[in-house]
Amino acid sequence: MLKFIIRRSLIAIPQLFLLSVLIFLLAQAMPGDALSGKFINSPNLDPAYQSELRDKLGLNDPWHEQYVRWIGNLVQGELGMSYVHNVKVETMLESRIANTFWLGLATLILTYLIAVPLGVIAGRLPDTNMDKFIVTYSYVSFSIPIFVFALIMLYIFGFTLDWFPTGGSVDVRTEPGSWDWYVSKLHHLLLPALSSALLATTSTIQYLRNEIIDTKLKDFVKTARAKGTPERKVYTRHIFRNSLLPVAAFLGYDIVYILSGSIFIEQIFSYPGLGQLFVDSIQQRDFAVVNVLVMLFGVLSILGTLLSDIILSIVDPRIRID
């Protein structure tokens, strides 16, 4: 198993490298020095001064030197400067990382809280009305674009019914750290997380349902019954266990899915997280911030899928060999 994990991790290295090259190339296509954010093309600046500045910043060096320097800075945690706000990118990320993390975590928890029971029920009792309802829900949730769904949720529960706040991550009037503050945070989190989670359940529900239906027909389930195992245990020990374990491996992919969805969710709910920062930065053409965010999301994606594969190898003994 360890061997598998190491080998699988080794695949992530070229992926990380290619990702960084891609972002480097994108950055070259952006105006100014999008990697450090220290320099912007501007018609207001004296051309001679601009050229001097380029030299000073090393923007005329060969590309591989620039690349190595950029990577070196990244690794040391120097992410560059925001053109627009003229602060370090790290500073801009700080508060937003926490917000996105909590939103993501809440979404994940809600996703599994909804998906696992529904998938199990549908798989256990296929072709009943309950199952038909769950399957229809999973089709519907699969087909609605996240931004449409989020908008409708916001319109209904935020504006029309006024059950949830329609923007922000916390009520600014509350004292940070106080009980009310936490409650307010949760209150702000709930609607966006629920909107995202209700759609993220699709794959888990459908996978679980099909897997349980398939597993029920497997010979080893017959063996278990032939041993005289009580029906309840046949389900828990054999059917659910065997079908649920692979679901654990979806975790990484779910993280990736939820992250990319956060771009829309945070925008619609005006939730100050990384996704919103990304859209704002693009609109303000604050490319240094944009680059860091693309890199960050890419790295998280790579780590997420890596995590999935590792979980799968732990869960399924057949993969450990190899």
Partner: protein
């Protein structure tokens, strides 16, 4: 002139392992085997799963690439030919497959299935093609009207006949039959086996008959090669193999076949136990220090055994 000669054939598959998935070892699916087929005979290759019998058949017809060794067909070295020439010469060799369900493309009509080789090798007008296909169908005992049907409209035995019809369209000289009846029920097996014997006489076919079932092999074959772990352990005529087996593995294989006579089963079990004990105790006598099988040595004109 030799009809088919397989000389020192080796088929190895790489085993990858270690950190960088380098080739660390080889699975020796076929490990240096030599045998010959005479025109008109049926040669049986027998062995248990994984012994390399199927790989041998598939390599002769070009589905697998040999690692080393030569294959001669009518004195032409197939293994040396370029791709295109290979197909020209190789069309005299055809194959009958194991599974009558998966060996026919479910999306194609019988006409298209049987005409496939004609379209590859002969330029015929659609009408000539149709006549030829109907002709072949009639030969295998199916109605010529079935050309517009799909495979799923036939039973297992009929499908197997369609497969045979397809193999017959190019008038082959050698047919490699890879477990042609093991997917079928006993009564259908009989039908296909009888039929294979009939067409053998009619078209003067040579069969390389690959099977794990010694009963069927005995029924069908003139000469037999016993394979074990990628090598031939014994080769001889049907009677030599069944009446005077020499190698311990052959004996073991034969003693494993269930006796059809319940009166003798106690003796048979005892005999089997004896053979198994000999297999364990005299292992060194039949296998070299590394557990490898020796090269075949002739003990009579037709009978060879892998003994030191």
């Amino acid at each position: 002139m030799t009809f088919l000669k397989v000389e020192n054939l080796k088929v190895y598959y790489p085993v990858r392992g270690g950190f960088f998935r380098r080739v660390i070892d080889h699975v020796k699916a076929v490990d240096d085997i030599t045998f010959e087929l005479k025109e008109g005979e049926t040669y049986g290759l027998v062995g248990e799963s994984g012994c390399g019998k199927t790989t041998t058949g598939r390599t002769i017809i070009g589905l697998n690439r040999p690692t080393a060794g030569k294959i001669f067909f009518n004195d032409i070295e197939l293994t040396k030919l370029k791709r295109r020439d290979f197909y020209q010469y190789r069309k005299d060799i055809q194959m009958i497959f194991q599974d009558p369900y998966s060996s026919l493309n479910p999306r194609k009509r019988v006409l298209d299935i049987i005409a496939e080789p004609i379209r590859n090798f002969e330029k015929l007008s659609p009408n000539e093609e149709k006549t030829k296909v109907m002709d072949v169908l009639e030969k295998v005992g199916l109605s010529p009207e079935s050309i517009y049907k799909y495979p799923h409209e036939f039973s297992g035995g009929q499908r197997q006949r369609i497969g045979i019809a397809r193999a017959l369209t190019l008038n082959p000289k050698l047919i490699i039959a890879d477990e042609p009846v093991s997917a079928l029920d006993v009564s259908v097996q009989a039908q296909v086996l009888n039929f294979m014997k009939d067409i053998q006489k009619e078209f003067n076919l040579t069969y390389l008959f690959i099977s794990h079932d010694l009963g069927i092999i005995r029924h069908m074959c003139d000469r037999i090669g016993i394979m074990y772990r990628g090598r031939l352990v014994e080769e001889g005529t049907k009677d030599e193999i069944f009446e005077y087996p020499q190698h311990i593995y052959t004996k073991r294989l034969l003693s494993s076949i269930p006796q059809m006579n319940p009166e003798e089963r106690i003796q048979h079990t005892a005999f089997r136990r004896k053979v198994n004990e000999e297999f364990k105790n005299n292992y060194d006598k039949y296998f070299d220090a590394e557990g490898k099988i020796f090269d075949l040595k002739p003990i009579s004109e037709t009978h060879s055994v892998a003994l030191p």
